[in-house]
């Protein structure tokens, strides 16, 4: 793409039309100026028309459309017995999943009537878990898993933790059973890829919170709905990564084995799958972490697990309980992540080590299984080994300490935190929110369309038009604008963080090695948990949701920017330095401009992460669409409104995604 210098105004002679076939000269882009002009018009419009045509909607009022959604749910509920699809297909899946989860709960976590305790008590479960870790991942993971499982009992959340594991593993097992064959099919067939990829895209860009509600339509609430929600969210990684792993098996190896007369099945079994094994296990790891994060949130639709005490504690502002249950979730996340990572590295490392002795390993496995069997027997025979409340109770003192620490902190520093919160809220959030939510809807819509067009061209503008129309149709314009405000403000802050830390990490190897593990760990923790410290510091407010969103979206954005900066050719940087540029000049004139597409990609990812977290922030006073969705879960008469809010969130997400994607594409071309 070429940019021609502006012609002097004096040569005003009419230009000859460009010859056909010749590329038209690209006009000079002055995106910044145009955007500033749009902003100016907007502010003027806001000054004069403030408060008119803002389309507000009271908390308990419903539009016709939302009432219709309520009717839809009633219709679904009524049709559950009688409609073939609902009764046999959906009902069959639902009953099967429920039976599986309840059966596992009886076995492992909940009192199995007539026993006052589960079939296998805590000691047996710990032993079995540790044995599985030994078989799949090695000795270090065995200790990690054993200690983590015991800690769930010690923290006082034994049954909730095991319930969460049951839901997570049920979903992961199904996801792997569907996902790996699907990934193989994608790697082999372009048609399958073309069909499946867009579906996976939609599954992944939708904020996790949102598809809980439509699932309620089909599966009602309870364990089966929780497993289905988890499954939908967790499926894409394993499919994508399996396909990727198979596709990246070296072409020269495939050709060599083909030239020797391998059949397709032999190629798959003896070459592609073994060579892609590590990658596929990485996919399983990603799927498991995704499953854990959504299984926690699925507590909102009555899914069993650790999400329940967290939500309860968040709603009663019981910071101590929220802290302890959140801690259990973090321990579980670390346990699952480390163990699957170790499993992916084990086979390779062990086989290659000179000391590897298959006999010793066999003895270890058999001995371990005997030990586990003894533990299971003990846990069925003696109450001390069955009931985790016999373990020392660390949960209560910890909760009290956390509560006390929070009280002390808020008492002591309330001035500081309050000042930060107020300064931010009155200085940045409120004015911007007023601009978006108090301007007439048509003015805001026009502004958004114009911005989409200026940044990305007519295609994202068209997407924006459709999305805005959807938001208008579901009747939640003003709430959507408030959520949009929070999302945009949080994203600006995320990007500021991302540029500062990303540039630092991109330029300094030491900073990278120090920060990257922290960021990786931050990304494995289910987003839900971030609400707890934010709530402890800032109480319930929009600002709290924004803080949680920044903490959640930060790591991904920082890593993208750091990789972008690192990707700038060292030769170019060297050339700039040899020309006498200062460090600041190198950063602002060379590295950041050359990492432009990484920056845009980071803001794309940042926006989507922030949106999903801002919505979850409805639980801690984030208000607007998130609150509407939450109340849709808890109050039947607001279900339709919640579902409408879900649709509005998806529309917002698609709009922001399209605009940034196309902007990124445009930047990439230049």
């Amino acid at each position: 793409m070429t940019t021609v210098a502006e012609r002097p105004a004096a040569s005003a002679a009419p230009e000859p039309p460009p010859a056909p076939g010749q590329p038209k000269p690209e006009p000079v882009r002055r995106t910044g100026l145009v955007l500033a002009a749009i902003l100016g018009i907007w502010v003027l419009g806001w000054l004069f028309l403030q408060g008119s045509a803002t389309l507000p909607l009271g908390r308990a009022t419903l539009t016709d459309f939302q009432a219709k959604l309520n009717d839809l749910r009633a219709a679904f509920d009524a049709a559950r017995d009688g409609n073939f699809f609902l009764e046999y297909v959906v009902g069959g899946i639902s009953d099967g999943l429920e039976a599986f989860v309840v059966g596992a709960q009886d076995l492992l976590s909940q009192a199995a009537f007539p026993r006052p305790v589960p079939e296998i008590g805590w000691l047996g479960v710990v032993a079995i878990g540790a044995w599985i870790a030994y078989a799949l991942a090695g000795l270090r993971s065995t200790i990690l898993v054993g200690a983590s499982l015991v800690s769930f009992g010690v923290l006082g959340y034994w049954s909730e933790s095991i319930d969460l594991l049951i839901v997570t593993f049920t979903a992961v097992l199904i996801a792997v059973a569907i996902g790996i064959p699907l990934g193989i099919a994608m790697a082999r067939s372009r048609v399958v890829t073309a069909i499946v990829t867009p579906i996976l895209d939609v599954m992944q860009t939708m904020p996790s919170f949102v598809y809980l509600l439509p699932l309620v339509l089909l599966f009602s609430i309870g364990p089966s709905a929780a497993v289905m929600a988890t499954l939908i969210y967790a499926l894409p990684p394993v499919v994508r990564i399996t396909a990727h792993g198979l596709r990246t098996v070296a072409a020269s190896t495939i050709e060599a084995t083909t030239s020797m007369g391998s059949t397709k099945a032999q190629l798959l079994r003896k070459v592609q799958l073994p060579m892609a094994k590590r990658t596929i296990i990485v996919g399983v790891n990603q799927t498991m972490m995704a499953a854990l994060s959504i299984a926690t949130i699925a507590a909102l639709i009555d899914g069993p697990g650790l999400g329940e005490p967290v939500i309860e504690a968040l709603q009663t502002l019981d910071i101590g309980a929220a802290f302890v249950s959140g801690l259990a979730i973090v321990i579980m996340a670390i346990m699952l992540d480390r163990t699957t990572t170790a499993a992916s590295q084990r086979a390779e490392a062990e086989r290659r080590s000179a000391r590897y002795d298959p006999r010793r390993r066999r003895i270890g496995l058999v001995g371990g299984s005997v030990l586990a069997a003894v533990c299971v027997y003990l846990s069925r025979s003696y109450l001390w080994a069955a009931d985790p409340s016999n373990l020392p109770d660390l949960g209560r003192p910890l909760a009290e300490a956390a509560g006390a620490a929070t009280d002390w902190f808020t008492d002591t520093f309330s001035g500081v935190t309050g000042a930060i919160k107020d300064g931010f809220t009155y200085g940045l959030l409120n004015p911007f929110q007023s601009l978006l939510a108090d301007s007439p809807w048509w003015l805001v819509a026009a502004v958004l369309l114009a911005v989409a067009f200026v940044l990305g061209g007519w295609r994202p503008a068209a997407s924006t038009a459709v999305c805005l129309a959807v938001i208008l149709a579901v009747g939640l314009w003003q709430d959507s604008m408030v959520t949009l405000t929070m999302t945009l403000v949080a994203t600006v802050l995320v990007m500021a963080l991302a540029v500062v830390f990303g540039v630092w990490m991109g330029r300094s190897k030491g900073a990278d090695t120090a920060l990257r593990p922290l960021l990786d760990a931050g990304q494995t923790i289910p987003p839900f948990v971030y609400l707890v410290p934010a709530l402890a510091l800032f109480g319930t407010s929009r600002f709290t949701a924004i803080v949680a969103a920044i903490v959640y979206a930060g790591p991904a954005a920082i890593k993208l920017v750091a990789d972008g900066i690192r990707g700038v050719s060292p030769t170019t940087v060297e050339a700039a330095e040899s020309a006498g540029s200062s460090t600041l000049q190198v950063i602002t004139k060379v590295q950041l401009p050359m990492a432009r597409s990484a920056l845009v990609l980071a803001s794309n990812q940042g926006l989507l992460y922030v949106l999903s977290m801002v919505v979850i922030g409805g639980l801690v006073g984030g208000g607007a669409l998130g609150y509407t969705v939450v109340s849709g879960f808890s109050q039947a008469q607001l279900f339709g409104k919640g579902l409408a809010a879900g649709i509005a969130i998806v529309a917002l997400g698609i709009m922001l995604d399209r605009i940034t994607q196309h902007t990124a594409a445009r930047q990439g071309r230049r």
């Binding site: 060599a256 084995t257 060579m275």
Partner: protein
């Protein structure tokens, strides 16, 4: 040649090289590998190019006109059993595509390939698989080893997929590992070996299935020069020991001259010349080949056939007897030591004589034969 009647020798004389050439020429009448009018055109509607005037266009013109690229253009040759046939060309000349068309790793657009009497171009998938499993084995530039298998399991892969029992393939694989000089490394993984050793694994893997034809696709291009020379000698040794028919692809003229019984030179997908190394250097088919071989030390390639002349009437005919296909460099010492010109003899016929001046003209002055 000599118009007068040949002087009769005590016994007919023929050296090994001349005998081998004669034997291969004879055997080529019933070739092991027969390639006839092979084409490969990449691009949409590529099968419509052949037989039209467009086929005669240069690559660039054809690309501009139709969007198609001719990788292999009407190539035909025969390879005798036991022959080492080298295909040489620069990158982009189509040589790698050509060798892949031989077992249909790349589907040829037109033409015929026959291996041991079986037409490959019309073979079914099952027949093709059988042929790849038993008759044709290939060695690749980037080795193509399986990183998750030990050396011994890489070598036995071909036997494994055709259903050989474990004990049998183990024994055979060990034999091959020993043959290529990797004894003691059977339990290593490929990435624990150097490039040269990895390619030995590739060689052993190809030899393990006891194929009738071995295809080498630039097998040593990725190796260091010294290792490359070792591996070339290894191939020569293996060829002496197992006598396999080989088709060897290379962009390295030295390698081609060193290994090949005959050389096919390709340019832009088309054949430029086929011939023995001395023919390629001694009588280049065109300026392209001439330019190509201009740096080759003539005495290393040319044979006495190229430097001999008719005896002058006053010359002694008592000098040493040599075959016409003796390389000049190898003959030099004896010719220089002898007072009389050496006689070049095939059977009982005197073909000509070579004296010191003829030899020095080639070795020192690097003169081309007239």
């Amino acid at each position: 040649m000599s118009p007068e009647a040949p002087p009769v020798l005590a016994a007919p004389f023929q050296d090994d090289v001349t005998a081998r050439i004669a034997r291969l020429d004879e055997a080529r009448r019933d070739p092991l590998l027969h390639v006839d009018g092979l084409w490969k055109v990449f691009g949409a509607k590529s099968d419509r190019i052949m037989g039209t005037p467009e086929a005669e266009l240069s690559r660039r013109e054809l690309m501009a006109k139709t969007g198609c690229v001719v990788a292999v253009k009407d190539v035909s040759f025969d390879v005798a059993p036991g022959e080492v046939f080298v295909v040489m060309g620069l990158s982009g000349s189509g040589k790698s595509t050509l060798v892949r068309c031989l077992t249909r790793l790349i589907e040829p657009t037109a033409g015929q390939v026959t291996v041991a009497g079986q037409d490959i171009t019309t073979a079914s998938d099952a027949q093709l698989r059988e042929l790849r499993r038993r008759h044709v084995a290939m060695v690749f530039q980037h080795f193509g080893l399986l990183p998750h298998r030990r050396v011994i399991d890489n070598v036995s892969y071909g036997l494994e997929i055709r259903g050989a029992g474990k004990a049998e393939r183990r024994a055979r694989a060990q034999e091959m590992v020993d043959l290529v000089g990797l004894s003691g490394n059977e339990n290593s993984y490929p990435d624990q070996l150097s490039g040269g050793m990895q390619q030995r694994v590739g060689l052993a893997r190809a030899l393990a299935v006891d194929p009738s034809v071995m295809l080498f696709d630039e097998p040593f291009s990725a190796l260091d020069p010294l290792i490359r020379r070792d591996m070339q000698n290894e191939v020569i040794r293996l060829h002496h020991e197992v006598g396999k028919t080989m088709v060897f692809i290379t962009h390295d003229l030295q390698e081609a001259l060193k290994l090949g019984d005959r050389i096919l030179i390709m340019r832009d997908g088309a054949m430029v010349q086929v011939g023995r190394p001395d023919e390629v250097v001694g009588a280049p088919a065109d300026d392209y080949v001439r330019d190509f071989v201009s740096d080759v030390p003539r005495s290393h390639v040319l044979t006495l056939r190229w430097v001999m002349r008719d005896p002058r009437p006053d010359e002694s005919l008592e000098g040493p007897v040599m075959g016409p296909d003796t390389v000049v460099r190898d003959a030099a010492r004896r010719v220089l030591d002898s007072a009389d010109p050496a006689r070049v003899v095939a059977g009982q016929q005197l073909l000509g004589v070579v004296d010191r001046a003829d030899i020095l003209r080639v070795i020192v002055a690097e003169e081309s034969p007239s």
